[in-house]
Symmetry: C2
Subunit: 257 residues, 2 copies
């Protein structure tokens, strides 16, 4: 039976302050939990009988089979997911040499946890290993974000730092891209194999203080040109199109596309 202390401990992880202090977070659902188990240290699993798998024992020291009623007490979700796990947040140093050779993302105050999760998931798909977030960006380990990553949170390294200081160090060593309404058509620009792509806040875009570090301004053209369309794209969608375009240009075909 789940103790009151355990229930309280899990519920406390709904708050960022507690996740930060304890360096823990919660994931729910068979798919995501199974994805994360081989990647991150699991401290506790609560599993409904119907969702139990023997292999879970290989990964978690503490597993409790719980009733649906107990599950409800610890779940962060509206609909039951059968499995809830508490993982240790991964820690990693920034590898500057690796970064300057890779394609990276920087997120400047992305507010919506769902957008952040979607971006982490697509970064993983497109082989982006590091995402650098300003301190005011949503928390990558909030429940909504973790669920939206569909497990990618275990593979992509998400760092929180002062983007201004970070970019000041790096912008002379590698290209820094930003998306703007008055940028240049991303389909036609020469893009680099390495660099940092900055994506800005949902409402206000990229902060003024980061502009000095941007070496190339990009724009996703709407279609047809000068037609009456939406005024903007969702930031997850824009990130996907930009990253896809970088990857397309260097996709192994024997020829540069």
């Amino acid at each position: 039976m789940l103790s009151k202390t355990k229930i309280k401990w899990i519920n406390s992880l709904e708050r960022k302050k507690n996740r930060d202090e304890k360096r823990l977070f919660v994931a729910e659902g068979t798919k995501i939990v199974s994805d994360l188990l081989p990647l991150l240290k699991c401290r506790f699993m609560g599993v409904e009988q119907s969702a139990f798998k023997d292999e879970y024992r290989n990964f978690s020291d503490e597993i409790e089979v719980i009733t649906p009623d107990e599950y409800k007490k610890i779940s962060f979700q509206k609909s039951p997911q059968g499995v809830l796990a508490v993982f240790e947040k991964p820690t990693f140093d920034i590898q500057y040499e690796e970064i300057t050779e890779n394609l990276n993302l920087a997120l400047d105050e992305i507010q919506d946890p769902g957008n952040l999760g979607t971006i982490i998931r697509l970064a993983d798909w497109f082989g982006i290993r590091d995402i650098f977030c300003s301190h005011h960006t949503a928390d990558a380990f909030s429940h909504k974000t973790v669920q939206a990553t569909m497990g990618a949170i275990g593979r992509v390294r998400v760092h929180y730092l002062d983007l201004k200081i970070f970019l000041k160090d790096l912008f002379e060593k590698m290209p820094v891209y930003g998306t703007f309404m008055d940028g240049k058509n991303v389909y036609h620009e020469n893009l680099s194999r390495n660099g940092i792509i900055i994506m800005g806040n949902e409402g206000s875009g990229i902060s003024d203080e980061l502009l000095p570090f941007i070496t190339q301004k990009l724009m996703i053209p709407s279609f047809p040109e000068n037609g009456k369309t939406s005024e903007s794209l969702n930031v997850g969608i824009a990130t996907a199109i930009i990253v896809s375009e970088f990857r397309r240009k260097f996709f192994k075909t024997g020829k540069k596309m």
Copy 2:
């Protein structure tokens, strides 16, 4: 003062059954409502004093200035938006000649209202005028979807129909594309200027019954090839990348890219 009848009438539009019967839907927030006012017939507006604009009078027969407390009673949102409007759902016939010349989307049981709204918004950005949804796709006029379209619901024509019958009629007249894990690399394929792109359900993809009508199977490659990445992309993200790739290939540059 807002009458009880009016409050009940607005609240009733939270249910699809009532939206369908009355052919009405609700939008909230200055940006979305202002976008929709010139495009759709507005039947009622409730506006908080602080959000009131004179120009609203040009578009709506019935405007009530309401208190924050009254606003809460009619709002579908957690955080107050200042303006709520009830619009008539647009109606339109399917223009087969136009469709066969254009690029269109078909959605096969997209379940998440947020995903649907995002897809409508990006369709608008990329000049896609018609989206054909299977009957089991989420409702384009649900509140969550409308808000996620950011006003694009007023420009894109969303049709609900039996996709099987619809595609059976059309697949010999224009290319029908679908996205599959074993499809061909979308970056390298010849794509047509016109056609229908089918996007499948978040979990199970495109229904078997639609497979006979697909003339070209596409795939978005992950990067690096054969690397360990996310197993899939969010359906809104995948739609964006595919549609962007169609548009890129025909973007006016004097040369085909």
